[in-house]
């Protein structure tokens, strides 16, 4: 087995090694984004819906932009 490299050895402490392992695992396996940033109501886009004489079946816009 060819070894070209001299490597730093892990610390003798088991804790350090298991921290390394946990860190490695978290970098190898990443979850999807926890919070969605999916599209929501847009006041500008909905403005056209309120034109006189146009009945578009969608909810009235909220008075304030919804908070997330």
């Amino acid at each position: 087995m060819l070894t070209q490299f001299r490597t730093e050895t892990a610390s003798a402490s088991r804790t350090a090694t298991s921290t390394e392992a946990d860190t490695l695992a978290s970098l190898m396996v990443e979850d999807e984004a926890v919070v969605s940033d999916a599209p929501t109501y847009l006041p500008e886009a909905a403005g056209g819906l309120l034109l006189l004489g146009l009945l578009l079946l969608s909810p009235k816009g909220p008075k304030e932009k919804p908070t997330r």
């Binding site: 909905a46 006189l52 004489g53 146009l54 009945l55």
Partner: protein, 312 residues
Amino acid sequence: MTTDTEVLATAQQLGTRALSWLHTCYQGGWGRLADNTIIDLAEPNDVYKPLCEAAMASSLVLRDGVAGPQDARAARDMLDGAWAQLREGDMLYERQLRHVTVTDPLETYAHFARVGYRHAALEELLESISRLRAVHAVEIQGSRQLAVANARRVIGLSHRPDWAELAARTWLGALPEPWTIAWSIAYQVTHTVFHLTDWGARPEDLPEPMRDYLRAWLPVWLDIWMEIGQWDLVGELLIVDACIGRPMLGSSGWEALAAVQRADGLVPRDAEPVEEDPESAIRAHEHTAVVAVVAATVLLSRALGGAGAAAG
């Protein structure tokens, strides 16, 4: 594959309770049009639009004939009340007579005509203006053009649209990149389907490529909007699912709506806290109740053999 009976039961519960809530709102005197307000429509979305939406939902309940007697009575009640407010259609007639190119009298009238409320003079007027180039050239977006076309079809007017061309001129008709959808575009998509299929009465009228496209991407749209509690839109996507053939979205959307529905039948439109003031709450969430009623009605109707298809 028949729709799961548990899903049907959940949907039925959701719809009947939402209808009851709507009925109670109107019984309580909410949504009274001031006399003669709609001819020039100072505030079309405040009372007129919700009134018409409630009439629409009631109209579909009666059309599809799958509701129990109590629900049917509530629907008939709301239609009678709305028709009376519109002075048996005279208000729609006067508005359409004065404003030739507006389309809301046509669209509103269709829901009444569908279940037997007729106004001869209004129909004659609508036939007449349908012969004007101007009326067909008004600049309105694709899904709205379909709304107008379906309204004419439901009333039985003689104008014949080119359905394929109208469908092609919608966002959905372009079969666009599904990840570009925005909140308001989603409503255009749902309405495109509603009008092409006449609220589920004609599922076969949806062009096949659009059906395939919806079957691919509806589950994704349902998922992302359920995740952030956009209940009104979730409900509309469930209506689409019921309109296009065999429903494929399963139970999760229905269960989510049933879970957020309140004891009095109100279905919140989103994850924001419901307004404490009753008037504001009705104003904000009335549309979502309408959506819930329509969704349940169409799903049950399709599952029980397409009762709505019998309608004209």
